[in-house]
Amino acid sequence: MAFFNVKALAVATATSAAALFSTAAQAVEIEYWQYFFDARVKAMETLIENFQEANPDITVKMTHFPYADYRTKVAAAIPAGEGPDVVQLFYGWLNDYVAAELIQPLPADVFPTSQIDAEFFPMVQAMKDGDAYWALPTAVRSLALFYNERLLEEAGVEPPTTLDEMIAAAKAMTKRDGAGNLTQVGMTAGMTAQDHHWWREGLVRQFGGEPYVDDYQTVNYNSDAGLEALNFYASLFSGDDAVSAIGFMDEPQAAFKAGRAGLHIDGSFRIGSLNDTRGLKWGVTELPATADGTRSNYSSYWVNAITTKAEGEKYDAAVKFMQYITSDEAMQIWLDVVGELPAKPSVGLTDANANDPVFGPFIKGLAYAHTTKFANESGQRQLMVEMVERMTLQGMSAEESLAIAAEAEQKILDDYYKSASN
């Protein structure tokens, strides 16, 4: 029998050694993924540092991917059981992830629905499903009008507050060479950047329309208002007195950064990179209103969610991490570093933030912002790009081009919602 005793002892030793080992290496490691954008990575590094200080038993490993590939990577990795425990997703993708059971709902006891409904900007309610939220943002973003102070001064104009003022100011800042080529534009234009959001949720609504109905399942911009909005947008870069040109300096933000554009519509996330640009003096103001004062803006956000990969102690750690990155403190850090706006009015709408010369216009914009629900953001953007191209390159009338775009976009939506309902 001695044999058995020895064996039992050996097993006991092994077990306790294993136990010992696991206590020693007790820190739970969870993985966090987001796309690469310098400021976002820096901000998240700060947040992780703070979080780990408060929770020494948890380590968070951040991985980031370039924006263009991010969606592919996430979609590929999670089903393979490889990916993150907490993941950052564009709000428009959420349905896919819920349907594919790649993310799990946030625990209602830690994230009570009623509290979130009350505390966050109402747009996040799209993330709610019955009693639970699937995901929550740290920050939201909106659009505003950037201006080059030096060029405004040179032209002797003030930052515009209405669309008419904007056109006038842009005209004053537009320069041409002897051959009639633009060498400096009054305003940037290009659907490839943020203009497609501005057109959809800004201009179309400001001209009295509603871009989509049926909870964004039906295209509705093929209307008089839509046409007027398109004509207005096209007037920026068509005709002899154009204040802009598509493809000027390759990309709108590049033209603005290079000091060759007076006005530029962009998101709050651009602030960081503009701050880094040497020799550029810029300011920002709210998106211009119509003559009767109508304003509209676009907002979007990235949410954080817990994936189905997180289980057991990793799940607990992930919940704690989620709690921290949706806290007031995290939101303020995110605003300071990234320039994205807090997702809670209580943090965003402090007097300091709302009157901030840089963040103020964006935060004010949130009050009248709309969030487009995309089925395929890049596909839908591409249709806007082509809508303009048909007019500039093929001389198609705005009416016809608008109708084609509306039809094509409706098809994307139909396909998407049809297969989603399957």
């Binding site: 592919t72 089903p79 633009l182 040109a245 300096m249 060759r260």
Partner: protein
């Protein structure tokens, strides 16, 4: 045991031992995925959810898709402009370079250098050249002599040739070298005999040089046409903010596949497109093989 084998059997053992890893490789990395791609082309799959069998739906969708036909046409335009133009230019250069002694090596280096560059790097260089004023080199040059700017990449007509140019440019040196080798392989005595016969320069070119160059020409045509049919790097990098644009005028099949698979995640649809690409390459190769056999 091995010792008891006959010499021939030992050779067989060695041969298969040498081929074991490569055969495994080709099976797993080439043949299995080919079958897999064909299979996926009959399925509906967005990478996240389940695969569902949809039969020929993807193909029906493809043939009904005007973008596909546009892209299909573009692919052939790349081929049908790129191959003959680069063939002609490289032949003319090789023909003359062949007859130059002074600093021959230096001139050859100038023509060959672009072949050593990376397509991505050079796509960006050319993209910059093509920009409108005040950025682009070409348009700045035009503007400086008072000529209105030219919409290289901002035109549905000119964007494709503009994208094609750097691709042809990069491959030109390669073709020139091969042409020169082909020219040098023609025995001098043929030319000397023709000189004695007093035949014209044109007849020599047409009756001696070109027929004897046929294998070289076929090689270059096969090589470059497969390259043009599969063009991607240049297009992708010259049109990143509007891939294949404007209005799909530069989009080749490979870029459409890439977008369908890795932006729209419509794997089945993308696979159907690759099957079509495969068939196109197959047909083009077979036609070329036929021509090769005729020679």
């Amino acid at each position: 045991m091995y010792r008891n084998l006959t010499i021939r059997q030992k050779q067989i053992v060695w041969a298969w031992a040498f081929l074991a890893i490569p055969i495994l490789f080709y099976s797993v990395i080439r043949f299995y995925p080919t079958g897999n791609a064909i299979l996926i082309s009959f399925q509906d799959w967005n990478l996240l959810g389940d695969r569902t069998w949809t039969g020929l739906d993807n193909y029906q969708k493809l043939f009904a898709d005007p973008v596909f036909w546009k892209v299909f046409k573009n692919t052939f335009v790349y081929l049908l402009i790129g191959t003959p133009v680069s063939l002609l230019i490289s032949f003319v250069i090789a023909y003359h370079l062949d007859q130059v002694r002074f600093m021959h090596g230096f001139l050859r280096t100038l023509y060959f250098l672009p072949f050593m560059t990376s397509a991505v790097a050079m796509a960006w260089v050319w993209r910059w050249f093509y920009q409108p004023v005040p950025v682009g080199l070409f348009n700045n040059a035009l503007a400086s002599i008072g000529i209105p700017q030219f919409p290289f990449l901002q035109s549905t007509t000119w964007a494709l040739p503009s994208v094609l140019a750097p691709a042809g440019w990069a491959g030109l040196g390669f073709q020139v070298i091969i042409f020169m080798a082909g020219l040098r392989a023609i025995p001098r005595s043929y030319y000397e005999a023709a000189r004695i016969d007093g035949v014209s320069w044109w007849t020599v070119l047409w009756e001696i040089t070109l027929p004897l160059l046929k294998p070289t020409i076929v090689f270059i045509v096969v090589f470059s046409s497969i390259g043009f049919l599969r063009i991607f790097d240049h297009v992708f990098n010259m049109t990143t903010n509007n891939p294949g644009g404007p209005l799909n005028s530069t989009k080749p099949l490979v870029l459409m596949i890439y977008e369908t698979a890795f932006s729209a995640f419509d794997m089945g649809y993308a696979a159907a497109q690759t099957v079509v690409l495969f068939l196109v390459l197959l047909v083009v190769s077979l036609i070329q093989l036929r021509i090769l056999r005729d020679s």
